[in-house]
């Protein structure tokens, strides 16, 4: 059936708006800040074959068209005729979804004139799903059963009637049931809104027209993505890098390998050779697919709405038994930690093929820290969490951005100094750009940041820095950026560098300095525009020593003028 181009555009806009409206509804009524502040969620419409019709923008980038597998599991279980109006299905099974169990998928079937036409679905991060420790991602966990309750395609509501047994089991296995069941209600409300909107759209245009529009939208997205891939020279491209360690065995790096094959207008990303799954929760089931999709989207349609069609030219081979596709019952609590590096490795592989598109590596980790304890003044429990930006790689025609969130974190924001000092027993002594942390290059890498905390009382720190060894690489002759580092300066004058570590005890007067990595440089530093280099010197982003040693600037005298 041919679709009228006007109807097509109206339906296209409507699909996107419905997913956005779901996101608004979810944010408005969610109970925990991981949803309404960190935006750790996604919302979308799924067709009856488990394909993504549309997805909201502005959630965490790591959720790219990955709701379909959760819904497909329910379709396999109940059959398409096993759904009825008023059903609500809950799903977080680690073996199927491949993400930490806090990510709870809720979906509802949508009917038009008695016929199942689509599903409204969303995923949101619950603060706690039980397990051995509060929250998620304890390095003490070595199998998924320690990480919380698993719910596989269960109907919490059946034809509008609550399944009290399921509800009770969920309630009794959470540490904060009021908050999480509040989030559950918010997730259902969001699905209901999308159901209503879809219903209006189907009444206006009919099943046949909408199916034809959906197919056409996918076809156009696919064609647009294929056109970009076709512009990449055919070939097999490979790269690798390493994460520091798995957080348990500290001296053994974890290898990440990607082999990217471009054949005409199709691309295959193959992780064969990537590190076998580990005992710590640094594994995931679906991380390989998520990373491949982010890299692919960045390269093809970065600004376009997300739907299934845009990913059709991409095949992902993620061998079972690796950290990116771990076999159950592996622990997967820190499933996303590896992804910034994995994405950078894919981009690095393609760099020779796309020298005019691919930037050098970025800081490569998520940059998180937390401090907790009990306040000495009023005895209350506190938990300070901050996420830091770092440098991005130099680009084919521009310097890398400084102090920016990782490629997996998008619109996540750092915590203001004034908010941290207002609420927690610390004085922050500086927050500044790290001179010389950006890799030297014709286009310089962006700078990392330095932030230093002074403890005003006893506290415990968790530090989650990675990529403290394998530096953000330069490209085409550009130099590496500085690695991530965390340093503890004890009040007795001693100093120690810390990698990933939990339960670090600190006392009043101890200081912790976090130094986030810089981006790699792009192109030979000797070819850097001298005016730009002199500006870097004047603004202090590059030191005179580095200008001489790395950029080969001879005449510092005139440069300083």
């Amino acid at each position: 059936m041919a679709v009228h181009p006007i109807t097509l555009e109206v339906v296209r806009n409507a699909f996107v708006a419905f997913s956005e409206e779901m996101a608004t509804a979810l944010c408005r009524s969610a109970h925990n800040m991981m949803i309404y502040e960190v935006r750790d969620f996604c919302c979308g419409l799924i067709d009856t074959d488990g394909n993504m019709i549309s997805q909201n923008a502005g959630g965490l980038p790591i959720f790219l068209a990955d709701l379909g597998v959760a819904v497909q599991d329910g379709i396999d279980r109940y059959g398409l005729d096993g759904f009825a109006p008023g059903d609500v299905i809950i799903m977080n099974h680690g073996g199927v979804c491949g993400q930490h169990l806090n990510n709870i998928v809720i979906y509802t079937p949508c009917f038009h004139e008695g016929e199942l036409v689509a599903f409204a679905a969303n995923r949101a991060h619950w603060v706690d799903v039980g397990g051995s420790r509060v929250g998620f991602g304890s390095y003490d966990s070595f199998e998924i059963f320690q990480e919380g309750i698993q719910l596989r395609s269960l109907k919490v509501f059946d034809k509008g009637v609550r399944n009290d047994a399921v509800w009770q089991i969920i309630h009794d296995n959470l540490r904060f049931p009021e908050s999480s069941l509040g989030d559950l209600r918010a997730q259902i409300a969001a699905c209901n809104i999308a159901e209503r909107r879809l219903n209006e759209l189907y009444r206006r245009y009919g099943t046949e027209t909408i199916a034809a529009c959906t197919a056409e939208i996918w076809k156009q997205s696919e064609a647009a993505a294929r056109a970009v891939v076709a512009g990449i020279p055919d070939g097999v491209y490979e790269a690798e890098s390493c994460l520091d360690n798995d957080g348990v065995v500290i001296d053994k790096p974890l290898v990440i390998k990607a082999r990217v094959t471009v054949d005409g207008d199709s691309m295959t990303i193959d992780y064969t050779g990537t590190n076998p799954q580990v005992r710590s929760p640094l594994n995931s089931g679906s991380g390989g697919v998520a990373a491949a999709r982010i890299a692919f989207k960045c390269l093809t349609l970065p600004d376009a709405p997300v739907n299934e069609g845009g990913f059709r030219p991409l095949t992902v081979i993620s061998p079972e038994g690796t950290i990116l596709n771990a076999r159950p019952p592996a622990a997967i609590g820190l499933w996303s930690i590896a992804l910034p590096t994995v994405i950078d490795v894919i981009l690095k592989a393609l760099a020779p093929a796309l020298p005019h598109r691919i930037p050098a590596a970025h800081k490569g980790d998520m940059g998180g820290c937390s401090f907790y304890g009990y306040r000495e003044d009023d005895g209350r429990r506190f938990l300070l969490m901050n996420i830091m930006g770092g440098g991005w790689g130099g680009r084919p025609a521009a310097d890398g951005e400084s102090a920016a969130m990782s490629i997996c974190q998008g619109d996540v924001r750092n915590a203001p100094i004034e908010v941290q000092e207002m609420n927690y027993p610390f004085v922050i002594e500086c927050h500044k750009l790290r001179t010389d942390s950006g890799g030297a290059g014709q286009y310089r890498g962006g700078l990392g940041v330095e932030i230093r905390y002074r403890c005003l009382q006893d506290t415990i720190a968790n530090i989650n820095f990675d990529r403290t060894v394998d530096a953000p690489w330069g490209l085409h002759g550009g130099h590496d950026g500085a690695v991530n580092e965390a340093v503890i300066h004890r009040i007795d004058g001693s100093e120690e560098r810390v990698l990933k570590q939990t339960n670090i005890h600190l006392v009043a007067g101890d200081r912790v300095t976090f130094l986030t990595g810089g981006g790699g440089g792009y192109g030979d530093p000797k070819r850097r525009d001298r005016a730009e280099l002199i500006r870097d010197l004047r603004t202090g982003l590059v030191s005179p020593e580095a200008a001489r040693a790395e950029y080969g600037l001879e005449d510092l005298g005139s440069a300083a003028e």
Binding site: S29, G58, E418, T539
Partner: protein, 688 residues
Amino acid sequence: MHSVGVDIGGTFTDLVGIRDGDIYIEKSSTVIDDPTRGVANCIDGVDVLLSDIDQFQHGTTIAINTVLERKGAVTALVATEGFRDVYAIGRSNRPEAFSLDFARPQPLISRDLSFEVTERVNARGDILIPLDEAATEALGRRLAELNVEAIAVCFLHAYANPAHEERAGEILRAACPGAFVTLSSDIVREYREYERTSTTALNAYVGPRVASYLDRLDTWLTEGQFIGGKQIMRSNGGTMSITQARRQPVTMMESGPVAGMIGAGHLARQLGYDQCIGFDMGGTTAKASMFRNGEPAVHEDYYIGGYASGQPMQIPVVDIIEIGSGGGSMAWCDAHGGLHVGPQSAGADPGPACYGKGGDRPVITDADLVLGRLNAGRFLSGRMQLDRSLSEQAIRNVVAEPLGLGVIDAALGIAKIADTAMSLAVRAVSVARGSDPRDCAMIAFGGAGPLHALSIARDISIPTVVIPLFPGNFSALGMLMAPWRQDLIQTFVAELSLVEEDAAAAVMAELRERGDRLLADEGLDPANASFAYAADLRYVGQEHAIPVPFGDAADLAKGGSPALKAAFDELHRYRYGHAAPEERIQVAKIRLTITVTGDGNAAMDWLSRPFEPADAQPDTVRDVWFEDADRPLSARIVWRPGLPAGTEIAGPAVVEEPNSTTLLLPGDVARVDEHGHLIVSVGVEQEG
């Protein structure tokens, strides 16, 4: 009473005057190099003596354009030791999550002009390290040698204790005379160092240029023997004196779009709509705002140049959402067979194809003309003749032929795509702010607003649409209704159950003292002012807080009065869809809003007086296309100024007037109310 409002936009300078209950309007081209001359041209055009005007209200885009064009002063930043990079680091977020080409906000101050001085205050306002005055003075001398034109001073926690900033300001002003010095604590008394630094930098950066413009304007007014009140429009929906505008130019950044919404809010109150959407569609964009009881929301998290890469501004701005469709939005086809409208605009030059200025890309206005919805001969009171054949040609070349459609079909498509995109955006705005469009009225204005409002309303089931008098000039009219207004906000973070009455009373007294000082500076009598306190409340753990009105400090003490808590829960439910009365509440800020309305308001009086129609003009009939390209409907064409109160017009019809056109769809019924506003009862969507 004789009031005049003049609004300088990018293309036109608009004037609205109300003299003894009669309105007059004028438009002239904006003079970029000397905006005062554009204002003078307007005044000359209406043949009015400056000495006869009692009240002169003025809005201008000069401040925001200075930022967008990055043509501000050479500005230096002075920060607390260890923190000069707060401005460059910002919040580190990347809203364009998948773009490898993303650009983070570019500071307005270069890093080599960013300096630190030794000093430190903590969150309670205690001084940890005293200000190094000698170093500050040396820095001031250095800035003078560097010929710095403006200085922004922003120290950590200065919202809690501004003493160091004030002393540094004295020293820097003495050591670097002639520089425009802005202290963060003079502009913002709220925590969040990056946003406060950015706001302070914005003020300093635009300060010298705005000041010289205002001086020039003031001189011109004085030379014209003007002796009335002079007020400058600001982003919070109110006005301020020229003296204050020179000191706080950052508060006039978004005054333009705000004025129309202030007018719409007044009209909503006058007509008794408790939930109302203001919809303003001009040449480049459409804008929407939600009012509750005639009051638009005011927020302190605005970004100049957009959220992704713009400059944050932590001062009160009326909450307006911009939608990328205006009369000049262009229609285009992509390489894969998709038809899109906007967001690029043809602007005023070349403008729509039908202007005949060489534009060959079809825009929404071209589609409206081809569909018979616009009258080629009556556009802008007939001052501009439109050429329908040029519109047809552009639509044929760019849309119809590539897609294999007829020209009328293509034009219908352009209008429909634009209308549904705006419908979805308007619904999103209302839903996100807690209202269902089915419970709202819509007040539509702007040159293109009344032409598209009824389609949008029908699409999302808004039952009533109001087209006010003079919809094409409604923004300038709104400016005349704006009161003098100052929002004073002080960070005050405490869990409600722990607030002590004395502490709250002390903050209120300090705000009142600042307010009284300001009123005295402005020569205003506190007896004519109204003082409204509100506490910004949130549940513990939330970031965003909601202002909740209260009367005195006792309302905040002892866990908060039941009325205060109930009001908060109710507002929270309205805005976020739920409330949690059992959860702990935290105070984030205390604010005092001072407004001075003066004796009556000429514009409000004018809006509510009995309507007297002008001479009637005979109705005509014209073919207008609505749904079916093959079957235009014969629509009644009426001349609005001649319609007496009580007239009813049923769609399909086109209601024409000097600067705007209202399109009524089949099923719509418009009635001219006693004040001359068109109240349209929206027809229902036909099923199928």
